[in-house]
Symmetry: C2
Subunit: 99 residues, 2 copies
C-alpha cells in the first residue's frame, strides 16, 4: 500500500464550491483500479486548507493507472482550478501504524 | 474525530535512529486518553521526510490532554531533536471519506 498525500490550498471564498465539486470528483478516483481508500480533511487552523489522503495498492496504480487515464482529465477539470498554489503531491509507505 | 497532521523532516543520516526512537515513542502517545489511531509514513520522493497522522477523539484530547501531560515530555525527549526544521502541526476534520 502507498499513501498519496497532498495539502490543498483553495482560493479564498471558494471552499463550499470546492467541497461540492469534490463530492462529485471522489467517485471518479474511487473507480480507478488499485484505489483503496480516501480521506479529505478540512484544516481547523487555516481556512481554505485541506489534506487529501488516498491509499493505493501501489505507486503505479496512482501514477500510471489513474494519472494516465481519461478519469484524471475529469478529476482535473473538476478540481484543479480551485488550488492556489498548485499542490505538491507526495507518496508515503508505512513505517508504523496503531492499531 | 480530529486528525493531527505533521510533515516531519529528519536530519540527514538520522533516519534509522529516528525510526527506532519512534518505535518506542508510539506507545507513549497511544496510551494517552482520546487516542484513536496512528500512522507514520516514509516519503518515497524525499529521503528523511515522514508524515505523522494521529486520530484523536477531539482537539482537546491532543492539545490539552496529551501536550499537557508528562507523557508529552517523554515524547519530546525521544523525538524532537531529530527534526530540522521543527514541524508545523495542524488538525483536520473529515469532509469526505471512502469507504
Amino acid at each position: 500500500m502507498v499513501l498519496e498525500h497532498a495539502v490543498l490550498n483553495v482560493r479564498g471564498g471558494q471552499e463550499a464550491e470546492f467541497e461540492g465539486a469534490f463530492a462529485t470528483a471522489k467517485a471518479i478516483i474511487a473507480a480507478s483500479p488499485g484505489f483503496q481508500s480516501l480521506r479529505l480533511g478540512r484544516c481547523l487552523e487555516h481556512e481554505g486548507r485541506y489534506v487529501l489522503l488516498v491509499e493505493w495498492r501501489d505507486l503505479d496504480a496512482h501514477v500510471t493507472g489513474f494519472r494516465g487515464s481519461p478519469r484524471y482529465e475529469e478529476w482535473r477539470r473538476l478540481l484543479h482550478h480551485f488550488y492556489e498554489p498548485f499542490p505538491v503531491v507526495e507518496h508515503y509507505e508505512d513505517v508504523a501504524t496503531i492499531p
